[in-house]
């Protein structure tokens, strides 16, 4: 079997999460790689939506930014930034939103704003919200892709940039958030899914070769583990070949 890295496993697992024919709001970096991998393998009809206004982009290489010209050139339609948020994201037309996180708690609340100290004098100033709060609010469901570590998987996020399930069941409805929230978190160790009853992120699948103890050790709260813990399939040779070909386009890109 081909060797692969933990990041490759994470990307492949994220790609597998995307069903053909759905519309996916894609950020740059790993989400974009995973979405393009899905489109090049099992989901040729996946509709990629970038917040730069590109609807239905079909890039033949990995875009280097959410405003890469290849997205506009291959899109079904290029609309303004206000339009992509108001007419496409906000009404719930987009099935899946892909988000990253600097910190994440057990209810899938996400911080990408500040870590440590306080807001006006933080230890680390991060990029901020971008499109994430409304992606988290309005997409049919959210998939978070993030490396699992004690620094990232924290008991409490220092700042709620994007709401997951708030403090638990019923909070999304109370807040009037109409999307389904972070149903799935894909990490370099495995897959967590929000428990339908408790809304708590629950480890449901480990990547091949990863143990529950490793996952627990990388989680800053007592990690819930599914009774029937599955082990995911390793990347297929095809998935790896396509992924690596995609990654190679980044290096050769203009």
């Amino acid at each position: 079997m081909t060797e692969y890295t933990a990041d490759e496993m994470m990307t492949v697992a994220a790609a597998r999460q995307l069903r053909d024919g759905t519309a996916c709001f894609v950020g740059i970096g790993l989400p974009s790689t995973a979405a393009n991998l899905a489109r090049a393998t099992h989901a040729p009809g996946l509709v990629l939506i970038y917040e730069s206004g590109c609807l239905g982009a079909k890039p033949d290489r990995l875009p280097l930014s959410i405003g890469d010209g290849v997205l506009a050139d291959t899109a079904d339609a290029v609309v303004s930034v206000p339009e992509v948020f108001n007419y496409w994201l906000q009404p719930g037309r987009i099935d899946v939103g892909f988000l990253g996180a600097a910190q994440l708690d057990r209810y899938g609340n996400i911080n990408t704003t500040v870590v440590g100290g306080d807001y006006t004098d933080p230890k680390v100033r991060l990029p901020g919200a971008g499109g994430a709060p409304e992606i988290a609010a309005s997409c049919g469901e959210v998939v978070v892709v993030v490396r699992q570590s004690l620094r990232t998987f924290t008991e409490r996020v220092d700042f709620v940039t994007s709401v997951g399930y708030g403090s638990g069941p019923g909070d999304r409805a109370r807040l009037g958030l109409r999307g389904g929230g972070p149903r799935t978190v894909i990490t370099d160790l495995g897959v967590l899914e929000a428990d339908p009853a408790t809304c708590e992120l629950t480890l449901t699948r480990l990547h091949p070769g990863v143990t529950v103890d490793q996952a627990r050790a990388a989680t800053g709260w007592p990690l819930a583990v599914a009774d029937e813990l599955a082990t995911g399939e390793p990347p297929t040779a095809d998935e790896l070949a396509v992924l690596r070909a995609l990654e190679a386009t980044k290096r050769t890109a203009r």
């Binding site: 930014s65 010209g69 303004s80 108001n86 807001y119 994430a132």
Partner: protein
């Protein structure tokens, strides 16, 4: 009708100390050359507005032009953090930087309200996040028909908006295409506008996906070929990804940064 000006004259006339200034362009068409001219003219105490403050605002902030930043995502896209931005926020270098932070949806709608002559915009946004704790510019609003609570944000009305576009004609009608982001709204929301263009042509040949800003809605147009470098201008140039990567090292250190600004901005050859 828009005036045709040189970049130096346009910035001198339209961008003033203490102004609220928006430079827009969503990855594509970022008005770098105009940003450099603002640095060269040593503008101070600006309130800088931009959805995605990236390298151009890192430069303006590091050069000490800004007092305040209104934004929704600050980073070097595809590379990492903005070191000058972080240094200003975390260490007040070279001057303190006040932040007003929003989401993209909020910022986009604030420009829409500004362009529409409305005092505020309504959206489904921010709810449950910590963003409303840190500004008075995010408030609840009730639907007068359904009673539902939504979010209001106030209009953005920059003193001046600066954008880059592909071309203009001699009457100052401006044409841009490709990813056009929030530029139309940012220009229409502003009191004054300065648009740098790759070229000035006799006739604007229609192009699919174009946005045209009529000359009578624009204050000034300056011909600045390559004015979006290291960003790109569809049909004219490609993104200089190397520069974005190189910026990480240049900007990490105050001295390296200062030296870069001295050599590449203050002492740069500027065509008239």
């Amino acid at each position: 009708m828009a005036k045709l000006v040189s970049l130096a004259d346009g910035v001198a006339e339209l961008v003033r100390d203490g102004d609220t200034v928006a430079l827009e362009g969503f990855t594509h068409l970022i008005p770098f050359a105009a940003g450099h001219e603002i640095i060269r003219q040593r503008r101070r105490d600006l309130t800088l507005v931009r959805m995605t403050p990236d390298v151009i605002y890192d430069q303006l902030i590091g050069a000490g032009c800004a007092r305040r930043l209104v934004f929704s995502w600050g980073g070097n896209p595809g590379v990492g953090s903005l070191h000058r931005f972080r240094d200003a926020v975390q260490n007040s270098w070279p001057v303190p930087l006040e932040l007003e932070e929003h989401s993209h949806a909020g910022m986009a709608n604030r420009y829409v309200a500004g362009a529409s002559g409305l005092p505020f915009a309504v959206l489904r946004g921010y709810t449950g996040t910590d963003l409303p704790r840190h500004t008075t510019n995010i408030r609840p609003i009730e639907c007068p028909f359904t009673g539902e609570t939504l979010t209001a944000v106030p209009a953005l009305r920059p003193d001046v908006t600066v954008v880059h576009a592909q071309r203009a004609d001699r009457a100052g009608n401006v044409q841009m295409w490709g990813i056009t982001g929030v530029q139309k709204e940012a220009v229409l929301a502003a009191q004054r506008s300065l648009i740098t263009v790759e070229e000035i042509v006799d006739e604007l040949e229609p192009v699919p996906g174009q946005v045209v800003l009529p000359g009578w809605a624009v204050t000034a147009v300056a011909r600045v070929p390559g004015g979006s470098h290291p960003s790109y201008t569809q049909g004219y140039s490609v993104r200089d990804n190397e520069f974005y990567r190189a910026w990480d090292a240049i900007s990490r250190d105050r001295d390296t940064f200062t030296d870069w600004i001295a050599r590449h901005v203050h002492e740069a050859e500027v065509p008239a």
